[in-house]
Symmetry: none
Subunit: 226 residues, 2 copies
């Protein structure tokens, strides 16, 4: 089920939330401060984040902005204050929802459900299979079959192919590819892309020397053309 990142410096509350969420089948990872939250999100990207505004190191709004730089996962902000200005700032920074402490657990759970429900179609986007003249991608099952049979891809190769396949015809930035696959700290290591796309092409392109589906747009990025 969905993985949720909890960020709060109140150990009590963190524990209560973790118990409630795991009891309902969510996978929970936690962080006690802002920088910890950002690294945790980069290491094991969650499907949703619940972030307290009053963190010991960074402002909650800063954390939201840090996440929004490279991912569009839903963010629910918690806050002890009822200040309207803080709500507006957090929402405009990219947060999806705002819950004021003290809150009822059922309400938070309902808001989490609502946020995940909204995000679901975007990430799973309808048919989870994409077919081209040379191969078929089953995104849900993580399977790729060519005329010659099934092809095994490494995790990184999947990640790259998935991003391209979800935006068919569009050029995807070097930076965006690096950030989404390797984390927000990356952005200039284009050699990573060169190597992994070379491997990917060798596995799925009929003629890897003259790629037809994974096209390079020099200086811009890569494009998937079905």
């Amino acid at each position: 089920m969905a993985r949720i990142l909890l960020v709060d410096d109140d150990a009590q509350l963190l524990r209560a939330l973790r118990i409630n969420l795991t009891a309902r089948g969510y996978e929970v990872i936690t962080a006690a401060d802002g920088s910890g939250a950002l690294t945790a999100a980069a290491r094991t990207p969650p499907d949703l984040a619940v972030i307290d505004l009053g963190l010991p190191d960074l402002d909650g709004v800063t954390v939201v902005e840090g996440l929004r730089g490279w991912t569009s996962l839903p963010v629910i902000v918690l806050s002890a204050r009822d200040a309207e200005a803080a709500k507006v700032a957090a929402l405009d920074a990219g947060a999806d929802d705002y819950v004021t402490k003290p809150f009822g657990m059922d309400e938070l759970l309902a808001r989490i459900r609502a946020a995940l429900r909204r995000a679901a179609p975007a990430s799973l986007s309808g048919d989870a299979t994409i077919t081209t003249a040379a191969f078929t991608i089953d995104l849900a099952a993580k399977r790729l079959t060519t005329a010659a049979g099934e092809v095994r891809l490494t995790p990184t190769e999947w990640h790259l192919l998935e991003i391209l396949a979800r935006n068919p015809g569009k050029v995807i930035d070097h930076r965006r590819l690096l950030r989404e696959v390797w984390g927000p700290a990356y952005g200039n290591e284009t050699n990573y892309l060169r190597v992994h796309f070379a491997n990917l092409r060798r596995k799925i392109e009929p003629d890897p020397a003259r790629p037809r589906f994974i096209v390079t747009e020099p200086g811009l990025g890569y494009r998937f053309t079905p």
Copy 2:
């Protein structure tokens, strides 16, 4: 701009909301009861709906379910009651957000912005295309097609064209073009512009010697005329 459907039986509140929203550039349609809301939404589909829970005819939750049957537009529910059960019911019925009366106008506006921002990529996707008599620019996919077929542009050519195309009809300063493409340290190297615009014109103008779409404004800058 975005069209918003307001549903409330309190004429006072309806008026206040309408004034605030139209002042910010939203198009507003209103309904005073549930059935009116459903027919209004069907006739002129809004981009977002704000629905009061306590309506004279139908329950607000019923209205949300009625909308969810055929559209996925974002719904924000208003309610005078602070009952948690009602919040949970509304959110699980498909509402995206829940605001308890009395609420601050700024907060509601921020929540509307957040909901619209979330919905934007799904409904606008691929809308970033500009068409002229000679070619069409797809900014999202970084594609430019003329009558003769697709044309490949270099990164700098894209950058320059994009700036002009996003401000159609407006003259863009030499300095601004240089700063946006080459960085803040540049500002006087107008020869760069001459060379790259010459290349660009050779690729996209029907008669590069007599440019029709990328016009030079001597001493000022360049202008894009669709």
